[in-house]
């Protein structure tokens, strides 16, 4: 222990001895670490944005449908006994859920028509699940028995304003065509124009009436930000036994998001591997130079009784000190940069305006997780030690007789 402290002490002083070279090495490692921490934090921020965009635009954390439900099938498939599902959700301690009726339809106005997805939502419960209510730019969000909420893009191309009327066509419960005129009561705008063009909302009561589907619910969406969705789906499945229901998590609803996150993670891991390989080579290079320069000094240290393992420790500790200094510097800079990027973010509108993963916002904000920061630093220190091992091993095998003869 005493000798370990002694060797560490010498190692530390040796780092300061060739201050400029040490500084360059430290800066290079710190820069690599800095970039990795920021990339990682931006990646986490990106993934959060993608998840928010998926969960809070429409999907929710979980959706409950009648067994055999298929997306985009016009025929209404009723959730059997929605009350039972709701009490099961309440039993699980969940409060943010919303009953919906979804169907496809046609909107007509002034000689133009477009197909769209009509959602009948519970005006009180839906804002707890999705963020559409917060994206209303004109008029108001759906309220009981009033009119229809259109996306800005659609309203613009139809030239309609709140107060104007549009015609809707769809199929009722029995599969018969229905037509109705509805006043436009609100206009919303998400960051995703494609969504806005094809999604319209009204109160669930109004849509049920239009579709002659009194009391019918086709979808129950649940939002739970803190619980693991798969575990939640499992417990819900246990409290709703039998073959009546189909429970799907957002990961099943939007597998593309999960795949993209997985792809990003894999790319990041490759990047991390490359950066740390470069760091390790840099350290090995510096320490090899150090050992070469101190050939005679190491010979004297060995001659006066330092064991090979002692010399190994001394050189590895020097390498570790370089890593530790870089770790402190790189982390401090990265934490500061992440704080800034977490607050102000990077505006990616030009790259993401038509991207489904950015329905909520185009500003990418960094999100630094403590575990990522700790892991990045741990890997830096381990890399520093690994990078020092080869030169240290060479140093430990120096023969003092050769070293002393070398003046």
């Amino acid at each position: 222990m005493k000798t370990f402290l002694l060797f560490s002490h010498i190692a530390f002083r040796n780092v300061r001895r060739n201050a400029r070279r040490s500084l360059f090495t430290i800066l290079a490692i710190a820069f690599g670490l800095f970039c990795l921490i920021i990339f990682q934090a931006l990646k986490v921020g990106l993934h959060r944005e993608m998840v928010i965009s998926t969960v809070q635009l429409d999907a929710g954390t979980l959706q409950i449908h009648a067994a055999g439900y298929e997306v985009n099938l016009a025929a209404l498939k009723q959730v059997p006994d929605p009350g039972k599902v709701i009490s099961a959700l309440r039993m699980l301690g969940e409060t943010r859920f919303s009953r919906r009726v979804k169907t496809s339809g046609l909107i007509l106005s002034g000689g133009k028509s477009a197909s769209l997805l009509l959602s009948g939502v519970d005006p009180d419960a839906e804002p707890g699940v999705t963020f559409i209510s917060g994206k209303v730019v004109k008029g108001w969000y759906v309220s009981r028995n009033s009119g229809i909420l259109l996306g800005e893009e659609l309203a613009k191309s139809f030239g309609v304003q709140p107060g104007d009327e549009v015609t809707l066509m769809s199929q009722d419960m029995a599969g018969l065509p229905v037509t109705g005129r509805f006043p436009v009561t609100g206009i919303y705008r998400t960051e995703l124009a494609a969504f806005d063009r094809s999604h319209a909302f009204m109160s669930i009561g109004l849509l049920q009436e239009f579709l002659h589907a009194d009391g019918v619910v086709t979808e129950i969406a649940l939002r739970s930000d803190s619980r693991d969705e798969t575990a939640l789906a499992d417990s819900l499945g246990r409290s709703l036994p039998g073959k009546d229901y189909q429970i799907r998590t957002w990961k099943e609803i939007a597998p593309d998001v999960i795949q993209l996150i997985g792809l990003n993670d894999a790319t990041m891991q490759l990047l991390i591997l490359i950066v740390f390989a470069i760091i390790a080579m840099g350290i090995t290079n510096t320490m090899t130079m150090v050992v070469f320069e101190r050939f005679r000094e190491l010979g004297i240290i060995s001659a006066i009784g330092t064991t090979p393992s002692g010399i190994l420790t001394m050189v590895v500790m020097e390498s570790f000190c370089l890593g530790a200094a870089a770790s402190l510097l790189g982390s401090a800079a990265a934490v500061a940069a992440c704080a800034y990027l977490g607050r102000y973010g990077i505006d990616l509108t030009t790259f993401t305006s038509a991207n489904q993963y950015f329905a909520n916002s185009h500003v990418l904000k960094a999100h630094l997780l403590a575990k990522d920061l700790i892991a990045a630093n741990a890997v830096t220190l381990i890399t520093a030690v690994i990078g020092g091992i080869y030169p240290a091993w060479k140093a430990s095998r120096l023969k003092p007789v050769d070293a002393i003869a070398h003046i």
């Binding site: 000798t3 002694l6 010498i10 004297i300 009784g305 090979p308 002692g310 095998r397």
Partner: protein, 227 residues
């Protein structure tokens, strides 16, 4: 048994297929408390013999026994421990660890031996006092003159009270007055503490100080006289 025994020793270096006999002797002994100078012209084998005694180098044939232990066949780690426990070294120049102060350089060997702090403090102070450098303790090697650095090296060599101190041309890089002072210091330590000193030199003024002069010629002992 003598403190240092060389029996049937031969040291050959092989470079590019050429064999070079650097040093050989049938029998050479040095006793406890001797103050020995290895003399001889350049290339005569002075450094070689000191390295063999110091377990820095090992004989090609024969045996070197130091303080009752054969040096041949020791692993690098065991040789290091043997040097740490039995031998003090003073080299011609650049003896000290540049990043450590005079005090820390001397303390280094005691830390290697794991001595407790109060004992270290006492011994280091004593050693530095005995070489007359008590107020240089906090200086780094580069802040000291060549003679002062050599005296710190002497303090480091004697601080752990090893039975043997080896010094390969300790005065070669010093001016004659400083060189003579240094040998005077070694002699005083030899008389006061009974430490065995074996040093090399080709300076007649320095050689004069020794109690025993072993003169080498072409890797063999040409003359061994006690004064």
């Amino acid at each position: 048994m003598a403190l240092i025994e060389m029996i049937g020793v031969r040291k050959t270096y092989r470079t590019d297929g050429l064999e070079l006999h650097a040093f050989s002797t049938d029998r050479l002994e040095i006793d406890r408390g001797e103050f020995v100078c290895i003399a001889g012209p350049s290339g005569s084998g002075k450094t070689t013999i000191l390295n063999l005694i110091g377990a820095i180098d090992f004989p090609t044939a024969g045996s070197v026994t130091v303080a009752g232990r054969k040096t041949r066949g020791l692993s690098p780690a065991d040789a290091a421990k043997m040097r740490r426990d039995h031998i003090g070294f003073i080299f011609q120049s650049y003896n000290l660890i540049p990043v450590l102060t005079a005090y820390e350089n001397v303390e280094y060997v005691l830390l290697l031996k794991g001595l407790p702090a109060p004992e270290r403090r006492r011994k280091v102070s004593e050693a530095l006092a005995s070489v007359g450098l008590k107020d240089m303790m906090q200086k780094l090697p580069k802040e000291m003159s060549g003679g002062q650095q050599q005296r710190v090296a002497v303090a480091r060599a004697i601080v752990a009270s090893p039975p043997i101190v080896l010094a390969d041309e300790p005065t070669a890089n010093l001016d004659s007055v400083t060189g003579r002072d240094l040998v005077g210091l070694l002699h005083r330590l030899n008389l006061e503490q009974g430490t065995t000193f074996v040093f090399s030199s080709h300076d007649p003024v320095i050689i004069e100080h020794a109690d025993r002069v072993i003169t080498l010629q072409d890797g063999r002992v040409a003359n061994d006289r006690r004064c």
